[in-house]
C-alpha cells in the first residue's frame, strides 16, 4: 500500500531547492494548467479526484472551490493554512521543511483555478525556520518566472507572500485565520457568509490546508480520475499521518487511505510498535480534538471489522465507538499512560487557546480544566465525573467555531471509554497524590508509586 504523491522524491538530496525540484519533474503541472486548461477544467479535475480537505474537517476541496463568488467582481484570494497547532499534528512542518516547492506548485494551480491574483501562506509564528525556507523558495520561484507577472508567458499574474502568526491555536480556524491576516485578534466570524463569498478584506476567499494544496500538482498532471483510484471508497488519495507518543518510530508517514490501523501501528515500515515492548492502551487517531479510542476499538470496529485509516472507517460507530481521521495526528498511549492526566492536559490546552468570544467555550473550558485538575490531584468527587460530561455536552454545538466541540469531545470520550480510571482517581486520592510528575523521580532511581 505504499504510494507517494506528496512526499514523492523527498529522499532526493537538495529537493528543497528549485533546481533539483524541477529536475525531478516539479512544476510540470503549471505548464499544463496555465497553458492547456481553463480554470474551470482545473476545478473539475479536483472535483473528480474526490480530494477532501486535509486540515481536519474533510470537506471536499473541489466543492469548496466551486462556491467562490465570481460574479461580484471583487479580487479573489487564496490563503494557505499553515497554522499547524493541533497537538499531535506536525505533518505540514515536515512537508514545508523538506519540500516547500510542492506547496508553491499546488498554490499556483489552485490560484489559477480560482482566478486569484494574490495568495498568502499563513504560517504560525513559532515556525521561524519554516518561514525562512518558504521565503527562500518563493524568492527562487519569482526569479524563475513561476510567480509574479505573466507566469511562463501565459498572461496569468500571481503574487505569493508569507504571513506570520504569533502563537494562537484558534487561528487554524479559517475565519479566525482571516481576521488574524487582517491584523486583528483571532476571533472566528459567524458563518454564513462563508469565506468563499466574504473572506479576506470582505472579498471571496478560499482557505486550504498545506497538505490539500500539495496534492493539486499531482492531480493536474495525472488527472482527477487517476487520483480517485487511489484509496478506498470516498476517502481518495493518500494522507500524511504524523505519528507520535509512545511508539518506536515517531515521524511523518504518507499512507494510502485504507491502510489497516493495526498494520500502521505494528509494522516496522510505520510506527514500529509500542515503545519498550509495552502493551497498547489507547490511540487518538486524528489530533487532540478527536475522541480517544481504547485498544479494542481502534484495532477493530464495534462490529469486529478491522479498522482502516480512512475518513469513513475511523468514524464508524459515531462517537459511541468511533472517532475521526481529523488532521492525521496519531497519538499512541502505552499501558502506563494516565488517561485522566492526559485529559486534564488537553483541557488546559483548550482553556488556554479559547479566544473568549463565546461564553460556553470561555467559561466551560476553564471549568472543565479546574474539575479535571482536582480529580487528577486526588481531590475529586464522584459526581465530578458526571459534571464533566454535562459541561462537555453544553459546550458542544453552542459556539461560533469548532473549538468548543474540539474541547468537549476529548473529555467526553475519555470518560466514555475510561470511566474506571476517573473513578480510581476519586476513590484512591492517596495513591494519586503521591505520584509526582515532573519531580525527576525516575531519574533518581527512586521507585515511584504508580496508579493502578
Amino acid at each position: 500500500m505504499e504510494r507517494k504523491i506528496i512526499l514523492e522524491n523527498i529522499e532526493v538530496e537538495g529537493i528543497r531547492s528549485l533546481e533539483v525540484y524541477r529536475e525531478n519533474g516539479g512544476y510540470k503541472s503549471i505548464e499544463k494548467a496555465l497553458k492547456k486548461m481553463t480554470p474551470d477544467e482545473v476545478v473539475n479535475e479536483v472535483k473528480t479526484s474526490g480530494l477532501r480537505g486535509r486540515g481536519g474537517a474533510g470537506f471536499p476541496t473541489g466543492m469548496k472551490w466551486s462556491f467562490i463568488d465570481k460574479k461580484s467582481g471583487n479580487p479573489r484570494y487564496l490563503v494557505c493554512n499553515a497554522d499547524e497547532s493541533e497537538p499531535g499534528t506536525f505533518k505540514d512542518r515536515y512537508l514545508l521543511m523538506n519540500i516547500p516547492h510542492r506547496l508553491i506548485e499546488g498554490m499556483i494551480c489552485a490560484s489559477y483555478a480560482l482566478g486569484a491574483n494574490k495568495a498568502y501562506i499563513y504560517v504560525r509564528g513559532e515556525f521561524k525556520t519554516v518561514i525562512g525556507i518558504l521565503n527562500e523558495a518563493i524568492k527562487e520561484s519569482y526569479k524563475a518566472g513561476l510567480l509574479g507577472k505573466n507566469i511562463l508567458g501565459s498572461g496569468y499574474d500571481l503574487d505569493l507572500h508569507v504571513h506570520t502568526g504569533a502563537g494562537a491555536y484558534i487561528c487554524g480556524e479559517e475565519t479566525a485565520l482571516l481576521e488574524s491576516l487582517e491584523g486583528k485578534r483571532g476571533n472566528p466570524r459567524l458563518k454564513p457568509p462563508f469565506p468563499a463569498i466574504k473572506g479576506l478584506y470582505d472579498c471571496p476567499t478560499v482557505v486550504n490546508n498545506v497538505e490539500t494544496l500539495a496534492n493539486i500538482g499531482w492531480i493536474v498532471n495525472n488527472g482527477g480520475e487517476e487520483y480517485a483510484k487511489i484509496g478506498v471508497g470516498r476517502s481518495t488519495g493518500t494522507k500524511l499521518i504524523s505519528a507520535c507518543g509512545n511508539i518506536n518510530n515517531p515521524g511523518v508517514y504518507e499512507i494510502e487511505l485504507g491502510l489497516p490501523v493495526e498494520e500502521f501501528i505494528y509494522s516496522d515500515k510505520y510506527c514500529g510498535g509500542v515503545k519498550g515492548g509495552k502493551e497498547l492502551k489507547a490511540v487518538i487517531p486524528g489530533g487532540s480534538s478527536v475522541p480517544i479510542l481504547p485498544k479494542h476499538l481502534i484495532l477493530k470496529t464495534a462490529e469486529g471489522q478491522p479498522r482502516l485509516m480512512s475518513y469513513e472507517s475511523l468514524s464508524e460507530g459515531g462517537f459511541v465507538s468511533g472517532s475521526m481521521l481529523g488532521s492525521g495526528g496519531f497519538i499512541v498511549y502505552d499501558e502506563d499512560a494516565c488517561i485522566v492526566r492526559n485529559t486534564y492536559n488537553f483541557s488546559r490546552f483548550y482553556h488556554h487557546e479559547s479566544c473568549g468570544q463565546c461564553s460556553p467555550c470561555r467559561e466551560g473550558t476553564s471549568w472543565m480544566e479546574s474539575v479535571l485538575h482536582r480529580i487528577e490531584n486526588g481531590e475529586g468527587r464522584m459526581k465530578d465525573i458526571d459534571l464533566l460530561v454535562s459541561i462537555a455536552g453544553k459546550i458542544e454545538g453552542n459556539t461560533i467555531c469548532p473549538l468548543g466541540d474540539a474541547a468537549a469531545w476529548p473529555v467526553a470520550a475519555a470518560i466514555r471509554h475510561f470511566r474506571h480510571e476517573f473513578e480510581f482517581h476519586v476513590e484512591n486520592p492517596e495513591v494519586v497524590k503521591n505520584v509526582k510528575h515532573g519531580s525527576l523521580e525516575k531519574f533518581m532511581e527512586i521507585p515511584a508509586i504508580t496508579g493502578e
Partner: protein, 193 residues
C-alpha cells in the same frame, strides 16, 4: 481607581523615544507592500515581531504606540492584538526565552521532567527570569513538533528529542555565547585592547 490598576503595564507610558533603524523601516515598508492598498493593518503582527526582536525582547506601551503611529492605526488596535497572541511578551524577559512545550504528546514523553529540571538548574520557577537577566523560563502549549518530543524553543530556535544531558549542553552553550560581547557593548578601552 486602585493603585494596582494605575500600575497596569498597559497604562504606564515611560516616554523614552523608541524608533526603528532606517534599515528596519525599509524592511517594514516591504512587508506593508505585500498587502493591498489601504490594508496596512495586516502588517501589524509581522511588525510587532520585528519590534519585539529589535527593541529589547518584549513590548511596552511606548513601542506599541510607536507601531500604531507607523501603521496609521489607533493604539488600542495594537494593544488588543499584542495581548491576544502568546508570542508577544508584555513583561520584560531575559536574553534567552526558554519555552518548553507541555501539551499532550510532549507531556507523555517527559516534558514535566524537563521543566522540573530547568527550574532546578536555573533556580527559577516557570514564568520567572534569572537574576542576571539571561534566561526566562516559560511552559507553553503545543509547538507543533510532537514527533520529536519533548521539545523546547529558545528564542524561536527549536531543540528536539530533549533529555537532561541535552539541556545541560544547551544551557552551557548559551551561557558561553552570552559572555562574548557585541562590538557596540564594549567600552572604548576594551575595544582598543
Amino acid at each position: 481607581m486602585s493603585e494596582k490598576q494605575f500600575k497596569h503595564k498597559l497604562y504606564v507610558k515611560k516616554g523614552p523615544k523608541v524608533a526603528f533603524t532606517p534599515e528596519t523601516l525599509e524592511k517594514i515598508k516591504t512587508i506593508i507592500s505585500h498587502y493591498p492598498e489601504g490594508q496596512q493593518k495586516s502588517a501589524l503582527i509581522p511588525v510587532l515581531h520585528i519590534a519585539q526582536e529589535e527593541l529589547g525582547g518584549s513590548l511596552n506601551v511606548d513601542i506599541m504606540d510607536y507601531v500604531a503611529e507607523l501603521l496609521g492605526i489607533t493604539p488600542i488596535e495594537v494593544y488588543e492584538v499584542a495581548t491576544f497572541y502568546s508570542q508577544f511578551y508584555l513583561d520584560p524577559v531575559g536574553k534567552y526565552v526558554i519555552e518548553v512545550c507541555q501539551t499532550g504528546p510532549c507531556a507523555i514523553c517527559g516534558a514535566d521532567d524537563m521543566i522540573a529540571y530547568l527550574e532546578e538548574k536555573l533556580n527559577i520557577k516557570v514564568g520567572e527570569t534569572t537574576e542576571d537577566k539571561l534566561f526566562s523560563l516559560k511552559a507553553v502549549e503545543c509547538l507543533g513538533a510532537c514527533g520529536s518530543a519533548p521539545v523546547m524553543q529558545v528564542n524561536t530556535e527549536f531543540h528536539e528529542f530533549l533529555d537532561l544531558k541535552k539541556i545541560d549542553e544547551i544551557i552551557a552553550k548559551l551561557r558561553s555565547e552570552s559572555e562574548i560581547k557585541k562590538p557596540e557593548e564594549l567600552t572604548w578601552k576594551e575595544r582598543l585592547s
